[in-house]
């Protein structure tokens, strides 16, 4: 067995260990350790990606001596490795770019924050690689706890309130997910995804069992939809993302919610199978809610008076895109959904790391009325915000354009005419709304009213470097989207 196959195991176990280790380290050591460890993980994941692309197959890794239906398993293919690689890069960039803001935090908490980040990395990797639905649940729990933890480190009243709301919504989602898993286990008798899938194919022939399976899938989907913030469950988003520490906001919006969606996609592909999923009425519900999210998320963003809340509501709209792609199904529907996960992870983290810089030169206020001219006072942040906005709107050469194009292709290649028409309409409407609220913000922050003097913070490398990396990935996704779509297709072919 090649050494590369051991990397996912070591990545998960060492991330868990790093979480524990960081509580024992001093603040500075914990920060440096976290950054170095993330770099090592990124190198490892790159190796796994190269290996799976070369061999063209996924590999299963038995966790212990007991094979498939009895013991735990993890499985890595090109899609999993690619997602993990991208998520780790975004995580590392968010940590480096947000490091400066950790100084505001109480000194006795920084190493605990690093510990939570490492535990979150472990959960992220485990959810991406797991081949066992219950392992998925266990690490969803770790993810829930760590995400509440990184939210409350900023001890102002508003974050505590947001964290409580976030925790309640998340626990509700976890509970529903667990109920779905229990129901699936009850009818199939398996927890590993592949044996479960074989049972499900048999069980779907019996109408009574098929009903239970549909209900179980519905409950499980509801749970993960609440956790990832699908319309109408997106009302926890603005408070959560709006008031968190920049690093936390970037990680929560671009990684945590995407990770739940990735788990859901994995369940649809590997546990149910795309044929079974396509026969379920559930996909129409997801499609409809996705479309509503695309439009209403944007409408809410338009009404926001605070830049972070606007970006957060725009996240709700983007989550809507992903779910609409999942609901549409078909070759391009899935590709578009997965591509958009990547695009949104890269772009949203950049926006959430830029807004605090704009606020910093505007009396620490995130309100639009105080942000006038902030991009002129801090040109780096202004430029990055502009590029992020253009990507969100879907201007060519940026990643957002490619993903909107993919959604368009998915719509026209869909077999159902009403779905095509609805998705096209929602795409058009949502893009116009996107342009409205993002360009309004861009115009405002670039219009100098001369009321404040220019006080450049200066190009700090620890801010510029991660932002540049994110922009380069964004441009790559936009300009070489064919390559990435090819990878996603290869990944999907070994995903089921």
């Amino acid at each position: 067995m090649e050494a590369v196959k051991n990397i996912p195991l070591f990545a998960i176990v060492l991330s868990l260990f790093s979480g524990v280790l960081c509580t024992m380290l001093k603040n500075k050591a914990a920060r440096i350790y976290t950054v170095l460890f993330e770099c090592a993980l990124i190198a490892g994941m790159a190796l796994v990606l190269i290996y799976t692309l070369q061999t063209g197959t996924s590999f299963t890794y038995v966790m212990g001596e007991f094979p498939a239906p009895w013991g735990n398993e993890i499985r890595a293919g090109a899609l999993e490795a690619g997602m993990a690689l991208l998520f780790l890069i975004v995580m590392l960039m968010s940590v480096i770019a947000g490091m400066h803001y950790l100084d505001d935090m109480d000194a006795s908490r920084v190493h605990l924050y690093a510990a939570l980040l490492n535990l979150m990395t472990a959960a992220l990797l485990a959810e991406i690689f797991t081949n066992d639905i219950f392992t998925g649940y266990v690490f969803v729990e770790i993810m829930t706890l760590t995400s509440c933890g990184i939210l409350i480190v900023r001890e102002i009243g508003r974050t505590t309130l947001a964290a409580i709301r976030y925790m309640i919504m998340n626990l509700l989602g976890s509970g529903l997910f667990l109920l779905g898993v229990v129901l699936l286990y009850d009818v199939t008798g398996h927890l590993l995804m592949v044996p479960m899938h074989q049972e499900i194919i048999e069980l779907m022939k019996d109408p009574g069992s098929a009903l239970v399976l549909t209900m179980a899938t519905g409950i499980l989907t509801l749970g993960l939809a609440i956790k990832s913030g699908l319309f109408p469950f997106h009302y926890w988003m603005p408070d959560t993302y709006g008031w968190a520490t920049p690093t936390s906001a970037a990680i929560l919006s671009s990684l945590v919610s995407k990770c739940y969606i990735f788990l859901l996609i994995k369940i649809y592909w590997r546990v149910l199978g795309t044929d079974v999923f396509a026969a379920m009425p559930l996909k129409y519900i997801l499609f409809a809610l996705g479309l509503c999210g695309m439009v209403f998320g944007s409408v809410s963003a338009l009404r926001a008076t605070n830049i972070n809340r606007m970006v957060a509501f725009s996240s709700a709209a983007q989550i809507g895109y992903i779910y609409a792609g999942i609901g549409l199904g078909g070759r391009y529907g899935w590709i578009a959904a997965i591509f958009h996960i990547a695009v949104h992870a890269v772009t949203k983290s950049m926006l959430f790391l830029t807004t605090p810089r704009l606020a910093e030169v505007s009396d620490n206020s995130l309100l639009f009325k105080n942000l006038t001219g902030s991009a002129i006072r801090d040109r780096d942040a202004g430029a990055f915000f502009l590029m992020g906005s253009l990507s969100m709107i879907g201007i060519p050469i940026f990643a957002g354009f490619s993903s909107k194009l993919l959604f368009g292709i998915a719509a026209v290649s869909s077999a159902s005419e009403p779905m095509m028409l609805l998705l096209m309409l929602a795409l058009a409407l949502s893009s116009v709304l996107n342009a409205l609220y993002f360009l309004r913000t861009v115009i405002r922050i670039f219009r100098d009213d001369g009321s404040r003097k220019i006080c450049p913070i200066g190009g700090r490398w620890d801010y510029l470097m991660p932002m540049l990396v994110l922009i380069v990935i964004n441009l790559l996704l936009g300009l070489a989207s064919g390559v990435f779509v090819g990878w996603i297709e290869t990944g999907l072919s070994m995903f089921a």
Partner: protein, 315 residues
């Protein structure tokens, strides 16, 4: 109104202030504090017009909210009952679904060396899940520490000073003769029982989580009866952190080793022992001990953090 909102956004006003403080003790410091808080609230909340508006908004919101909540709960209950009614009857109609359980029950003792099949399942067959699960507890502890741990910054605010100066004055149980005398008799029994549950996990009901919980409650009773000062003589934050760290590190590496050898087809060389003996079940016993120590430390840590904002005194 606008100014209020701004201050709210900036975190100067805490909406939970005055709601979360349930303790109403006879203490002048606290009274002055609440009076000052109320004064500040009055100036902050501002005019009666704003108050009226806010109240009206709240009421209409809650009315809609209540109706929607009740409807969705009823819907969910209906869906779940409907689903449960269609579940196959256990064992009878769905013989395929018992394939995995049958193997655990029939060959569990032979393959894991543990008489307690549940211990074999969670710590051997599905050990990866349990590895995650034991870190869930640790993650919860880290979150509580972030929220409640007391530090130099917190000490400076009037709010925390209140707790530091008066922390042992209220609910001080160390003067209670009944508790102290009963605790002297009970605590050794609790620890012996906890150890028994912990060490016997592979042979009977019990194991790390339950044994650790028993020992943790023993620590809590000890600190309630004899005071934190006595506990701090041997159970400092440092000790607790080291116990947790070494237990979880041992857990991760031991299991990582077993996963690695298992997946690569290398014999791991861990003796299974004779089923039924204390030294049996391969790694189950040491893992149970590790989990038990973590659980005991975490339980006591929660109690101590909630009572006084630190795990084990100044270290």
């Amino acid at each position: 109104m606008n100014e209020t909102f701004r201050r709210f956004l900036d975190g100067e006003i805490d909406p939970l202030e005055g709601i979360m403080n349930v303790a109403e003790e006879e203490d002048s410091g606290r009274k002055e504090l609440t009076a000052a808080m109320k004064r500040r609230h009055r100036t902050v909340i501002g005019t009666s017009k704003a108050q009226k508006l806010m109240r009206a908004e709240k009421e209409s919101y809650y009315r809609v909210y209540n109706v929607v909540a009740v409807i969705s709960c009823i819907l969910l209950i209906g869906v779940l009952l409907f689903t449960v009614a269609h579940l196959p009857r256990y064992g009878a109609e769905n013989p395929r679904a018992t394939e995995v359980m049958d193997r655990y029950i029939e060959r569990g003792v032979e393959e894991t060396g543990a008489v307690n099949v549940v211990a074999g399942m969670i710590l051997d067959y599905r050990a990866f899940d349990t590895l995650g699960e034991s870190h869930v507890l640790f993650t919860a502890l880290v979150c509580v520490m972030i929220l409640l741990i007391m530090d130099k910054k917190n000490m400076r605010t009037g709010y925390e000073d209140y707790y530091t100066t008066t922390r042992e004055r209220f609910h001080d149980l160390t003067t209670e003769a009944i508790l102290r005398n009963v605790a002297i008799v009970l605590i050794p029994c609790i620890f012996v029982y906890g150890l028994y549950v912990l060490l016997n996990g592979q042979n009977g009901p019990g194991g790390g989580f339950s044994g650790g919980a028993v020992m943790g409650s023993g620590l809590i009773i000890a600190s309630a009866a004899f005071g934190f000062d006595r506990m701090d003589r041997f159970f400092t934050a440092r000790v607790s952190a080291w116990i947790t760290f070494s237990s979880l590190a041992f857990y991760s590496f031991a299991k990582g080793y077993v996963f690695f050898t298992g997946a690569n087809g290398i014999p791991n060389g861990v003796p299974k022992g004779t089923p039924g003996n204390i030294l049996s079940g391969g790694l189950i016993l040491p893992l149970d001990i590790a989990v038990g120590l973590v659980v005991a430390c975490t339980m006591f840590g929660f109690y101590s953090l909630f009572r006084r904002g630190t795990i084990g005194g100044a270290s």
